[in-house]
Amino acid sequence: MASSISETNFEESKRIKRRKTGDELRDPDTIDHTRWRSESEQRIYSTKLFEAIRQVRRNSSPVNKVSSGRDIQDAADRVLAVAAKGRTRWSRAILASRLRLRLAHNNKKHKKARLAKVTGSIRSKMPEKKRFIPALQRKVKVLSRLVPGCRKVSFPNLLEETTDYISALEMQVRAMAALTELLTGSPVDRLASTSDS
């Protein structure tokens, strides 16, 4: 009995500490998913994205003026992650992976990147539960791979991250489509369903 009380106290203090740093994920009220649907958020994102794209083009060598779609996508993801203000795991993962890549590139030590990959694969083979994977768990695994940085997250946190990630992605698509529309002067044909208010 005493241990459980101390445990809850410890948990409480952890939670309070986390809330102060703005890192609380367990309380669903702190993450506002509707923010991704606001017009102002989209406008801010569009501006930042445009600036980022211009910077990409400025940084690319003057000979090769054509920036690939990959560069644009990276910039878009980065701006999206920054827009999340570090409150969600997927946004932090996007920024962290970019930093890691850049460090590896600057040091020119590809060993580091390879080492990280190797340890990652070894660690994933450790748990012996690989034999019996019920269909549901398998799907959860697939989902966790799609959302960046959420491979080892608990199930409810994963769902939480997923809802925010989907809203953010929708905004990203809306903003980029609007930008494209602006440049081409004709409406963009969306692959998915059209307007979602």
């Binding site: 948990e11 779609g69 809802t163 992605l169 980029m176 998915a192």
Partner: protein
């Protein structure tokens, strides 16, 4: 569907209600499932559709990135066109 995972030590116990609540929230986001009756959609379907939806969104971003890179290739970074576009965005 209900499974109590106590893999993480020290975390609050994950109730089924919490999971149901989160799954329903997820269901509302994915347009495929939104229109169907909530009782008839099992969790596995929700997860499946969610994965598909995320993949679709990724693909859209990819396509749009390609198009944007081609469109913006002709625009000089410092030109007047850029500032025009920027002002149009912020409207």
């Amino acid at each position: 569907m209900s499974s109590r995972r106590s893999r993480q030590s020290g975390t609050s116990r994950i109730t089924d209600d919490q999971i149901i609540d989160l799954v329903s929230k997820l269901r509302q986001l994915v347009p495929e499932i939104r229109n169907r009756r909530s009782d008839k959609v099992p969790a596995s379907k929700v997860l499946q559709e969610t994965c598909n939806y995320i993949r679709n969104l990724h693909r859209e971003v990819d396509d749009l990135s390609e198009r944007l890179s081609q469109l913006l290739a002709t625009i000089d970074a410092e030109s007047a066109e850029a500032s025009i576009i920027r002002s149009l965005i912020t409207q």
